[in-house]
Symmetry: C2
Subunit: 318 residues, 2 copies
């Protein structure tokens, strides 16, 4: 029996790690390994390609969709889907599936971990120990207490709520910003600046959209203030990175925990020179278990599609 | 009016940071700044010294107590008091006060922070970003999920319980070891080896006593196993560090988060060479807020003593 075809323009990390298993279930059409240009590769497989797998760094544009007239399913090995032209998919009757919230628990964990790290100076303490300074200088600067801090969650969605619930267990006070007030026992601020003005810490949990690009700008950072800490576990471009660097370098905010950057994998040298920031390489969701769950969900959606049964985690285009 | 005398043999970090405030309230007898030997310094002030302040690294032995016949109060700027000869204090009618649990919330926070760090590779990710490798190698190893992990708390005391409550919010399963079963909804293991055998992670929260020295030995580490993680936020000598190093170097356990070491501030070079350990310089409790609280409690005990009213946080010698 012939395996169904699966187009891979650029390989998602989840795909790379589980490639062996994918290859047992599908005939993989790997554009990225072909000597042909992507355009020609797509042209070659245009008539047969019914399904493709993508991820955040492999955009599915209207141009790509136009070149694949037989395409009926786009599966993204990610929770976010702003790299997919959803209106064009809808117009062409192409279904879209994502990995639902398989990454949200781990992302929330890293959100909290980065916060404890920045306040308690864990990574900088680790650096201090590894450079061998400790025996010569036993007085390392004090950290700052998490308990009692007022944390502002920027977008109390799936991940934001998980961060909030965890931080409650640490004795933090929680407020949030979202498009709408939610049925939660936290203070709601419709304006991010007002949230920043009230809070010691902001944790960015929103998706990247045209509206949220540079949502965290000069005004928000100013409102956060000299003792404020900014954590970003969402997407780099939500923060105006140039301004953030300036505020950090000039000591106009106290620190930052950043898992994402505006021009990943490029990280501004000014940040690397600072001791009061923790910089991780877009790792929040990257656990073995979440990758396995994501793989299984991608596979389940593909199998559902090829068996003509409803998708497990379809993206609903609002 | 003359200020009451306060003897300081070696200065505690809390004392150093709040020295100015102490000097406004007391006539400080600083043995560590005197050209005299400690022995001679004590001899000079033997008749007048009624109160002294100490901390973990400034032991109050029977020899010191013998040299201070007028001493009536020992205040330690720490929660632990195993550096004070309590039976000898009792024999001589000397009261002892500590800083109660002012450090326990922060210590529990760092316990959780170290765990998220080891599992999610935060400090090692930060190192990866800072060395500039990310743009050349975007595939950083996956971390491990916290949710669903079975965490064993070694001594469910004040700090252990705080760690447990926090980790419950992350979806961890909690078991514990203690001298006695406690009225908590966690599984009790009277034997540390059995606890290690059942759990993915051990968090050491017990005090250092003759019984707990090297409690975490070869057998416990073997029971913890290849995928196991050890976190120590208590005291270095509770772990047989030589064995721990061996298990880590040989990959017989998966990682460690260590805020304390057997011969602080010396840290074994083998640990520094590893990427799967997070090493902080005995920082768990060291926040500005906790130090301020500790200062206030030390001060309140001293003021109570000199006003002949009951101590605020006396140590009861059982």
């Amino acid at each position: 029996m012939e395996l169904p075809e699966l187009l891979v323009i650029h390989p998602a990390p989840v795909f790379i790690i589980h490639q062996q298993q994918f290859s047992q279930k599908f005939k993989l059409l790997k554009a990225y390994e072909s000597p042909l240009s992507t355009k020609h590769f797509l042209q070659t497989h245009a008539q047969s390609t019914k399904a493709l797998i993508c991820y955040g760094k492999s955009p599915i544009t209207s141009d790509i969709l136009r070149r694949l007239p037989s395409l009926k399913l786009v599966v993204t090995a990610s929770t976010g889907f702003n790299h997919i032209d959803l209106p064009e998919c809808r117009r062409r009757g192409i279904a879209v599936a994502n990995t639902a919230d398989v990454f949200s628990e781990d992302t929330a964990d890293i959100g909290v971990g980065l916060l404890i790290d920045v306040l308690g100076k864990i990574s900088s303490g680790d650096r201090f120990v590894r450079t061998g300074i400790w025996p010569k200088n036993i007085y390392y600067p004090l950290g700052s207490k998490l308990r009692g801090k007022h944390v502002g969650i920027v977008d109390l969605g799936n991940i934001g709520l998980k961060v909030a619930i965890r931080l409650e267990a640490f004795g933090c006070k929680i407020s949030y910003n979202s498009r709408q007030k939610k049925p939660v026992p936290y203070n709601f601020y419709p304006n991010v600046c007002e949230l920043a003005l009230t809070c010691n810490i902001l944790v960015i949990c929103c998706t990247l959209t045209v509206e949220t690009r540079h949502l965290i700008d000069k005004d928000v950072l100013k409102a956060l203030g000299k003792d404020g800490i900014l954590n970003n576990i969402a997407r780099g471009p939500i923060v105006d990175e140039k301004e953030l660097v300036k505020f950090l370098v000039e000591g106009e905010i106290a620190g930052a925990g950043l898992d994402v950057f505006e021009n990943e994998p490029k990280v501004p040298q000014e940040l690397i020179a600072l001791d009061n920031v923790v910089l991780t390489p877009h790792r929040a969701a990257f656990t073995e278990e979440a990758f396995r769950d994501a793989f299984q969900l991608v596979l389940a959606n593909l199998e559902a599609f090829f068996s003509n049964i409803p998708l497990i985690s379809p993206v609903i285009d609002e």
